[in-house]
Amino acid sequence: MVKLAEWRGKAVFRKYGVPLPQGAVARTADEAEALVRSGAVPLPCVVKAQVLAGGRGKGGAVRFASTATEARAAAEAILGLEFQGERVKELLLEEKLTLSRELYLSLTLDRSARLPLIIASAHGGVEIESVDDHEIDRQHVDPFPGLTNFEKRRVAKVLGLTGGPAKSLDRLLDALWKLFQGEDAELVEINPLAVVGDGLVALDAKVIIEDDAAFRHPEYADIRDDRTPLEEIAREKDIAFVQLDGDIGVIANGAGLTMATLDVLKEFGGNPGVFLDLGGTDDPRKVTEAFLLMARAKPKAVFLNIFGGVTRCDTVAKGLVEAMRQVPADERFPLIARIRGNNEKEGIEILRAAGVTSIPELKQSAQAVVAAAAGGSS
């Protein structure tokens, strides 16, 4: 998924006609001050860190300014702060509006119902998880015929809107629905959605775009989210790769098998740190690449757990042996393999020839990996 930073989300909002405060992006304190002096951002204004992590407000990364000098000071205070490992590099400066109410509104997918879902609450401006369930309205939208007027009337009622703000909501909901479909969004969230005078304004914007729709949206291709550098390389090579704190590397095929392997390793005291899902690949070159990527994560031991269905065990084995040749001696690590299924015998033979033993049982092989990571030999 591609999570858009607030300013990017608001750029998408603007494209669909969602009403926004006047604002602009700054990357230095100089830029921030200049935006105010030039009038691009009216005063008083708010200066907001552009990070994907939550808790900006409490973390001092949202500040107010009444003068250009104050805006500069706010920018200086915020730039460089770190939130859950994410450093603040961009700021959004926006006019500070006088609002009468803060609402919550989002559009996402309800998997169980296989329908888009509008979530609305009159209690906005706080984490939606903290709002009482009976204060939150959930309403499905059918892709055919799309968002209807009766659904929009219901949202207006839930939010307690009439008159001008209700009319503004009507247009806003149409815009969000078009955005949700047109941008292949997984989530469109406005919190708070503010009542300002006789209309509505989106004070925040949270937009998540679905990865699988990337072929329709080259415009999001260059957006980095919270991936580590190695995860980023994996993504470019189309390898599912997740990096955490543990020391055991896991190469498996299929999300379910990868997770099951994790469960077993944990059970025997292991601490998995890198998960690499080969998926249904059949290409020895890709296996080699995946393995080299794993080497760069410097695991203490690696567990290769493959069940060959579409994937052929001998192909995977070939790729693995090739990779082992390429890994520098000082970066080598203990490797425990378990390969089963399609062309199992051929695969085991290839591994054996390269000095790697395949243990057929999941339990025993997992125990061997944990022992290896703890300092035993491979």
């Binding site: 998924m1 997918l109 998997r111 169980s112 296989r114 329908l115 888009p116 998880e129 059918d142 892709p143 055919f144 479909q181 292949d184 997984e186 679905e210 990865d211 699988d212 729709a213 072929f215 329709r216 599912a240 997740v242 955490l244 498996a252 095929n253 299929g254 999300a255 379910g256 098998l257 990868t258 997770m259 099951a260 994790l262 469960d263 077993v264 390793l265 944990k266 059970e267 998995p272 998960f275 899902d277 998926g279 249904g280 069940f307 060959g308 269905g309 579409v310 994937t311 089963r340 299924g341 399609n342 049982e361 999941l362 339990k363």
Partner: protein, 294 residues
């Protein structure tokens, strides 16, 4: 009998001329499946290993009376392929294709549903009934005819588990791999009644994953309406929250859909819970030994 497939099922393979389509058409036929046609626009009139290829599903159906489809076409074209199949009167479609945008799947699902058609998948292994037929990509070698039904959201893990059942000397009635995408055509709750009604299934193995609420929904159905014994396994018990594990179905979101909530619900519904995949065959064998009573 079996679930969804019969020996009379006549299969058209959409995207048969691609690598995956060709390989799996061969394997389906080796499994005993009646693959009667392939479809690739622009390649009508050719054959793939003696299977006639048509330009459209309608032409394939007209010529061969195909009544089920297996889709291998790339994700950007999968929506059109499904709509074409349903429009041509096909009422059972397995979609193997992965990475289909869920907005496309919403359209596909509701179009199929309003025309009385069933989708299995997308991004799924498909369905196989040993001795009857197979639609999809589950490896032939893991099967052995028997009376254990398997329903799974996973791919490879399913093969592993089905294979484990076989190596334990037991066999399967039907194995149904639903796929773990955000929007699936057939969920646990949709699949369970099929196994409930299948006289050839004595008990089922349910393989779930963290993420979503499909397993919790299944547990509710099992508790209130499913009378056969259930062995359940949930993968991802130790997965870190909020990290992607290969596909969107494996995201833990907002404290819902955790392994704990799923396992608790399934236990409360009377299912035997396996902590690891290798425990499943033993639990199944135990139920079989006790005559299949839950």
């Amino acid at each position: 009998m079996s679930v969804l497939l019969t020996r009379e099922t006549r299969v058209v393979v959409q995207g048969i001329t691609g690598h995956q389509g060709t390989v799996h058409s061969r394997q389906m036929r080796e499994f005993g499946t009646n693959v009667v046609a392939g479809v690739t626009p622009g390649k009508g009139g050719t054959t793939v290993e003696d299977v006639p290829v048509f330009d459209s599903v309608q032409l394939a159906v007209d010529a061969t009376h195909a009544n089920a489809s297996c889709i291998f076409v790339p994700a950007p074209f999968a929506k059109d392929a499904l709509l074409e199949a349903v429009d041509a009167g096909i009422r059972l479609v397995v979609i193997v294709t992965e990475h289909i945008p869920f907005h496309d799947m919403l359209v596909m699902y509701h179009y199929a549903r309003s025309h009385g058609a069933r989708i299995i998948g997308p991004n799924c292994p498909g369905i196989a009934s040993p001795g009857v037929a197979k639609l999809g990509i589950i490896p032939n070698v893991v099967f052995r005819p028997g009376r254990v039904g398997v329903i799974s959201r996973s791919g490879t893990l399913t093969y592993e588990i089905v294979n484990g059942i076989k190596e334990h000397g037991l066999g399967q009635s039907t194995c149904l791999g639903l796929g773990g995408d955000p929007v699936v055509g057939t969920s646990f709750v949709d699949a369970l009644p099929l196994f409930q009604d299948d006289p050839d299934t004595d008990l089922i193995v349910l393989v779930g994953e963290i993420g979503g609420t499909a397993e919790e929904d299944a547990a509710e159905y099992i508790r209130t309406q499913f009378t056969k014994p259930v062995v359940a396994y949930i993968a991802g018990r130790s997965a870190p929250p909020g990290k992607r594990m290969g596909h969107a179905g494996a995201i833990i979101t907002r404290g819902k859909g955790t392994a704990e909530t799923k396992l608790a619900a399934l236990r409360a519904a009377g299912a035997r819970v396996a902590r690891f995949p290798y425990e499943i065959p033993d639990l199944v064998a135990e139920i079989v030994r006790h005559g299949g009573s839950p």
